[in-house]
Amino acid sequence: MGFVIETIFGGLMTGMLYSLIALGFVLIYKASGVFNFAQGAMVLFAALAMARFTEWIPQWTGISQPILVNVLGFVLAMLVMLAVAWAIERWVLGKLVNQEGITLLMATIGVTYLLEGMGQTLFGSDIYKIDVGMPKDPIFLFEKTFEGGVLVNKEDLYAALIAAAMVILLALFFQKTSTGRALRAVADDHQAAQSIGIPLSRIWVIVWAVAGFVALVAGVIWGSKLGVQFSLSLVALKALPVVILGGLTSVPGAIIGGLVIGVGEKVSEVYLGPLMGGGIEIWFAYVLALLFLLVRPQGLFGEKIIDRV
């Protein structure tokens, strides 16, 4: 019993992290109709920036207080992501207004290469570590309920808490602030939003900056777990089935999709894997998403796709 719950728990934790990356996809898709393949590269870029800044700041300024260094590093990395967002709007998306979806998708794959190359040129390509002081020791839960209890990593718990906080923060931002309202208007209808005076280009910079912020948080959490290295960029591939499972246009969809995929992946690997020769983690998420889509083509929470002639 304890083992089953542990597996599910582990799945939920990884799922939470997938959701964080998926969130970036959804934000940008909602506000600009761009399927942003570069989200993974943005995670890598942000994490690299953060890792290197926290390494460089003590050398430059002599500040050695870990909290201050981390905060400064985070702020600097966020500034870098802002610059990236601005540059993408200015030189890529701004030039591709009114193009078809696939052209935009390809452009973001171009951005992926650019960011991967640039990130590794500017910040180096070794394995770096981010240490934001998350506790690493495991704890036991439910020891009273059944024997042995459930082994949980404290780090995972914190990560899940941060992810949940992010989601609430984003929901508030979207629902309560005027910028959030403008973002939703743009998502609804570009032309109508523009005609009532919402500046599209500024909105896009904001959306990409928010996606950059999400990427940075995801990068910091993944990075402190696994170290910052090139493979971080590939985690984004895992977020793709999450996005389509939850629905491209739905923020709650990204969260629930992430949890479903995370749990499904872990449980299938443990119980189905040995029967099929192991390693089924790499495709299970996709097949699961595909099966879901056969029932609901727009994903679990996506807006219903209506075909008009």
């Binding site: 696939i102 190359g117 040129t121 793709l240 075909d307």
Partner: protein, 354 residues
Amino acid sequence: MLYRENGQFKTSYRADSQIFTIRQDKIAIAGLLLLAFVLTHWLASDYFFSAILIPFLILSLAALGLNVLVGYCGQISLGTGAFMAVGAYAAYNFQVRVEHMPLIGSILLGGLCATAVGVLFGIPSLRIKGLYLAVATLAAQFFCDWAFLRIKWFTNNSSSGNVSVSELSVWGHAIDTPAQKYLFCLSFVVLFALLTKNLVRGAIGREWMAMRDMDVAAAVIGIRPVYAKLTAFAVSSFIVGVAGALWGFVHLGSWEPAAFSIDRSFQLLFMIIIGGLGSVMGSFFGAAFIIFLPIVLNQLPAAMGLQIGTETASHLELMVFGALIIFFLIKEPHGLARLWSTAKEKLRLWPFPH
């Protein structure tokens, strides 16, 4: 002056429905075929054949197949690498397990197996559309990656997981020098390009294009979506499967699943987007661009006398590659094929444009 159709009258339906209606085009294509089939023997070295021309031809073929699906029928696929892999591994199994299997036979049968898998993964396209479908095709990619790595039967129980073919021969003639391999691939490419061109000009090609432009409207005027979409998947994955078999047999010789990874799928998608969606010619332009660009980028720093480390060089290559893709998408979203046809239009008026 040189390129115009003045005085060339089409007096029959036959003449009107030729692929190349203008005499200058016929001369140009005949010259190109002459160059490709005959003159390259004197012009190209072994290195040029095996490192540049053969990969270019095979990837053009794969791009052509993908273009049928994405460019003509409008179904975005990110699983091309998987269909190539199915073609290659199926052809390998026919070659190894069936005695006296002719090479061409196993390559075509490999293509047929890819067709079956392609249709199977094409079935969701009847319900799932657009970007959702694109991500769903990734299921094919990752599933095939896994299957060829883990299921030992496909690799004939080879212990290292990589498979190899040796001693290729067609009708008793051995194919072992790069020039012979090149001719072998070229024959396939020319044949398939001709077949594809005719398919997309015909009734079925029009159905695909109607599907691409607006599937609901196409269904309303009586085009069966099931038939149109699944034939596009079938034709596309057959060509891609044959290209995969050629890639494994002729270009690589021995390979493992990583040869057909998701990077390959992206590379092929780039080729058709840069070359031009919905254009046979564009597949070749795109393949040429994507094959030659890294080679040029590799040589450039050395040629300019810059000394940079290999690691920095590979990062710079990534950056330049990404930047060029964005640049092309912005400057010409319809691909190199559109540039080509604009150039031809200009040429018709030259030197007296109005």
